[in-house]
Each structure stands twice: as C-alpha cells, then as structure tokens.
Amino acid sequence: MPSLGADMDAGTLTEWLKRPGDQVRRGDIIAVVETQKGAIEIEVFDDGILDAIAVEPGQKVPVGQVLALIRSPEEAARATRPVPPREAAAILAAPGPALPGAGGKAAPTARGTTISAAGGRGPKITPSARRLARQRGIDPRDVPAGPDGIVGLREIERFEGGPRKPAVPRPEAGEMRRAIATAMARANREIPHYYVSTTIDLTPLLDWLGRENARRPVERRLLYAAPLLRAVALSLGKFRELNGTFEGGEFQAADKAHVGVAIAVRGGGLMTPAILDTATHDVDALMQKLNDLVRRVRTGGLRSSELSMGTVTLTNLGENTADRILPIIYPPQVAIIGCGQIRDEPMVVGGKVVARKAMDVTVGGDHRVSDGRTGARFLNELTSRLSRPEDP
C-alpha cells in the first residue's frame, strides 16, 4: 500500500484491475484504493507477472503493508505452480519493513471485486464501473447488479439502456477536510517555516500571453498558470534545497522537479497532484495537463504516482482572491510557492511611475534545509524568467 500523502496512514482496497497470471508493465493501473481523497488508481512500478495477492477487496490496509507479489518474467518462468492465495497471504503476512513513501516500490495487487462508492445507498457500484458509466452517459443506478449484488465493469458493459444524467462521484468533503487537517497540523508541528516574498511585474508575461492567445483558436489558448508553472519548474533546477523530501531527520534532494499543483475542489477541499518531470513539458503540454488534472480532481481518476511523488508544491490563488498567501509546506516536502492574484499596481519602470500588472510570490521554506537567502535567490531567478516569456 503506497503512501499517497502525509495525511494518509491506511487505505481500503476496493478493486483489483488485474488478475493473478496477468502480465503487468510499469505504469499499468493494477488496483483502485479508496482514501479520504477519494478513489485513487494504483500503478505498478515494475514489469512482470502478477503472482499472488494477499488483500481482498474491502480490506483496509495500512501504508507499507504488502498487497501482492509480482514476479519478474525470469522468476515466473521458473515457478512450477502458482501460489494459492491463502499460502501467499501467509508468506506476505510476515511483517516487513515499511515501504518508502514517495515513489516506493509498492506492488499492489488483488483480484478485483468492487466496493460501494456512494455512502451505502442503493447497489454497490465500483469506481471503475462508475467511470465507464459516466463515459457512456449511463446512470449506474439504472444498471442491474451482478449475482454478487455488485455493479461492476461487466454489468456496465452489458447494459443496454440509454444514457441518462451522469452520476459524478466526489470524495466526501468531510473526509477530505480531515485529511488536509492532519497534513497541515503535522507541517505546523514539525517544520520550522521561513517566508520570503517579492512582487513580480507580470506585464511582459501577460502581454506575451495576449499576443499568443490572439493568434490561437479558443481550444488552444493558454491561461497564465501554464507559463507560470513552467517558469517555477525551470527555476527550481538551481535550488536543490527547495526540491525534495525531509524524512527520518534527513533531507533527500530530488533529481527532478515534480511540482504539485494545488487545485480546489468546488464546495470545499484541496488536492495537490503532481505533474511529473514538470520542466520537460512545454507550455502547451502543461496547459493540457493542468486542464486534465482539474477534471480528474473533480471527477476521479487520479493516480498514485501523482499523489505520492510531488517534490514541491505551487499554490496559485487565481483571480479575485487575495494579494498574498503564506502557504504551509506539505510534508514531507521542504518548500512551497504561493502566488497571489494579479492586480493593477503603480511600479517604477525606466525611472517613471507606470501602471503595471503585479503579482506577489511567496516562498515558504523548511528552515532545517534552507535559509531565507535560498528562497530569495529562487525568487530572483523566477522574476528573471517571467520577464522574458518568449525564452524562459
């Protein structure tokens, strides 16, 4: 069971998407786990053959517990018989070392059955069945359950009825708030924060954006969040102490920046899924990824790697919010970057006072790992990149 955030200590396995004997490749979705943040898709980190599973759907499992075994192709070829589940459970039940959080080699497995999504009302509907139903415009409540009383993928696929208003499951708002509370309370307890801020003249970026969008059709236009995210990711390259994790008394710098993006859930709540290897994507790709992330935060389908592999977080308040935010670091990360709204402000340009578009950016840093000077130098780097949007 991978750790999907500082606020998670256990998850409930709801569905296996692969069966023992199936071939799996790195990146395949192998199971679905229900957490306080909703249903999360668990990915495999290795290639191999799914061998034995030790956790049945419906079981709540602490982070670090082995869910199943994957054999490498060589091992599988040598095996003379498949390991029956009960024997596998005994092998795997022996307590092992806790798996690392970010990017740990968790091998979730379980042959799927599905678990009830909506709070106990009506037939049990699996998260993947809900997703397929939504794609097809079917209300899963219209679909008759299978012999086990559960509406799964098979039942949706067989359903002949017409489309109705799609049901969109969302994680329970109270649960999400509790998860946020746990993470933020831990951050406050454990991380000595420092804050450095600067006001950035965003006029060159917004002028560039206006020119870009004027020559693009609607569906390819950019929001300022995309070039902002790119500039942040590129700027982090020089500042190891702002990008990584602090655990067990030690700082581990990450070799790449996976920027977590704070996305608000309508009606309350917040999630920070990461865009992996953020700096390698151009502005268009980042815009698409942001759009996709927002959609999946709201309707489900976030992946475990997105929730567990963030190395730093960006929280961009957006329009009609506030000028400045002093954000709280999301453990075990060591920094967070907060951007306020864009506002009209008189600034000095070329010796004259002119009306410009200003945005405050604040770096929150873990003082066990870096100092205010590091944050300040990062802000200078970011300011410099944002001043030349054509060539950040």
Binding site: K165, P166, R170, P217, V218, E219, R221, L223, R266, N320
Partner: protein, 81 residues
C-alpha cells in the same frame, strides 16, 4: 436559433464543463463565477465549448460579455450593446 435555444446551449455547455453543477438553477443575471465558483480554467473550457457548438471563434476581448447566462444569450444571438 431562438434565445431559448441559446439558453439551453449555454446550460448544456456549462454543465458539460462542470458536471457537478448539472441540474442546478442558473440566475440569468448573476455571473457564473459568483454563483458556482467557476474559475478561469472552467470559463475557458466553457467558451471553447460554445465556440465549438456555434462554429464561431470567440476572441479574448469578448470574454467579459459571456459571464452571465443573459450575457451569453445576447452575445450569441448577435444583439449589440
């Protein structure tokens, strides 16, 4: 298309962008942002949806006219002012 048709198109496009709002009443003169916490990402997707449905390119300069249901209907039906 009549104003009623445009209003229905606007509703459908909005609910396609934000399915969690589906079925809710829309105050035709209040902005979508105020009523439903529609953010700029939602709004851009909404304008993209309208553009695709009507086959019209919608320049950024026109976005402020599309912030309410009535504003959208007036814009799409070609009313001036």
């Amino acid at each position: 298309m009549t104003d009623r048709d445009y209003a229905r198109l606007v509703r459908e496009t909005l609910f396609a962008v934000a399915p969690d709002l589906d079925g809710m009443e829309i105050d035709p003169d209040e902005t979508f942002r105020e009523q439903f916490e529609i953010d700029s990402m939602d709004f851009l997707n909404f304008v993209t949806g309208l553009s695709k449905a009507t086959g019209r390119d919608i320049p950024e300069a026109d976005y402020p006219r599309l912030e309410t249901l009535n504003g959208c209907v007036a814009y799409l039906s070609g009313e001036t002012g």
